[in-house]
Amino acid sequence: MPRLKFQTLTEQMFYVLLCLKTECCGMDILDRVPAMTQGRVSVGSGTLYNLLEQFLDAGMIRETKVEGRRRSYVLTEAGVKRLAEEYRRIAAQGEDYRRVFGEEEQK
């Protein structure tokens, strides 16, 4: 089931969805992810192709326009919600980290 797949997003999934806050096509995503992460994260073209297909199936993104062979997508409400949930999960992890190491630094 596609939805079960996305209970926890991988780093690549997270950034692909993040790129799609505004409408863009696959090639834009391939360029934006490394730019957004200062080269720390790259998404392969095969992986992106499959991810876009799975996000579409899961209703997390929708197709906005087709220009020749270039398809553009944007996040749906479900996608925005899922991305927000993921952000909260990562933020909670950050909080937990700060609490543990913050206490140690105070000692």
Binding site: G26, N50, R69
Partner: protein, 455 residues
Amino acid sequence: MRDVKRELFLFSMYDRTGLQKHFEKLAAEGWMLEDIGNYFIRYRRSEPRRIHFCVSYYYKASAFDPYPTEEEQEFRDLCAHTGWEVAASNGKLLVFYNEREDPTPIDTDPAMEVDAIHKTMMRSTIPAYAVSLLTTLLGLWLSVGQLVNDPIGFLSRPSGLFSLLCWSFLILLLGVELGGYFLWRRRAVKAAEQGVFYPTPNHFPLQAVGLSVFAIALVGYLTDVLLQSNPLMKLITFVMLGWTVLLLLGVNGTRVLLKRKGVSRSVNRTATLAVDVALAFGLLAVIVFFTIRAAGSGLLNDSIYLSGDPPLSVADLADVDMDVYRTWTTGDETVLLGQYEIHQHVDWNRDDPDLSLPSLEYTLTEVKLPFLYDWCRDRLYHEDDKRGEEFGYRYEVIDPAPWGAAEAWERVYDDGGRTNRFLLCYDSRIVVIDFGSKWIPTPEQRAIVGEKLGK
């Protein structure tokens, strides 16, 4: 200096690690990948280059597609954006190359790559291999059945030995391919959970050995057929062989031709299947036609498998006119064993045949490898012994000297009556000779048998 090089496609479909390394190595040697077919890979001479290759699996594609579908082209465009250009493709298998120093790989998520490979394998290779394995197991089962029922006859027939060897190796190859794939997948899925790409196993050496064994067995089989079998067997064997080649070329040729003509996937698939079925049934029809013709012309009845006259004939033992006799000689031999059956009876088809004339039947078992001798002798002994339990007879040791043999047995009824059947052991030949009910061999006739058949 040749500009094109071809090699057999001896990689597993899912062996992306092996394929990538192989293409990179050849590109560095100055051979650039140009085309991947079902059986061969073609390269063209180029400047030696250190470039990257990536094997990708596009499971929605089909080997019957005339050109990449719109969706596949979108995938190729995405790959081209990161420098990956298509070097060659064959249906679901796409091979890309990239001249950049450190390109972003096409697959950066191992779980997704394993998933794409699995979808590809389940849609093409696995069903084909599973059907082949079932067919091969059926073939092996039939061959082993024949081997158990008549081991000497089976091992004496080139086709028997050839089929046993081929079925066994095919099962090994298909087993390794199927088992190897599922084992790899299990490990690859686990590794992918940790974000690791698990390398694919390389079965190239096994495939190369399997193919070599098949080629050697085929050459041996054809040589045997050419040297020893009767004309009808030669004809059937070469018609079957030629037709198989025609079938492979015809089916593949139809598919490739229709692809080039731009015919749609569904039409191409239907036409190729139709050619396949037509050629397969055509082969069956040709074999049936030739067999009926051969039977009609009496070729099957009078088949002479053994060249020349039989080594022993009724005329060697008695003063008879061989014109009233008919001889049936059948048999074959391989590098292991040979077995020939010779029957000489009065020709019943003649007007007023004299049924009081003696008959002669004997089987010669030629043992080519000494270690098989005792096994063959025991087998021939026990074959009669088993029947004897039902019909009330058994073998009894007799003096081998009159026959010029090393060992000899005579089959006698439980009540002491003779059956006129003898088992005689010579150096590398075992003879089972049956004189029927019309005569009892005299000491002189026994000596002639030893002289003619002993060697």
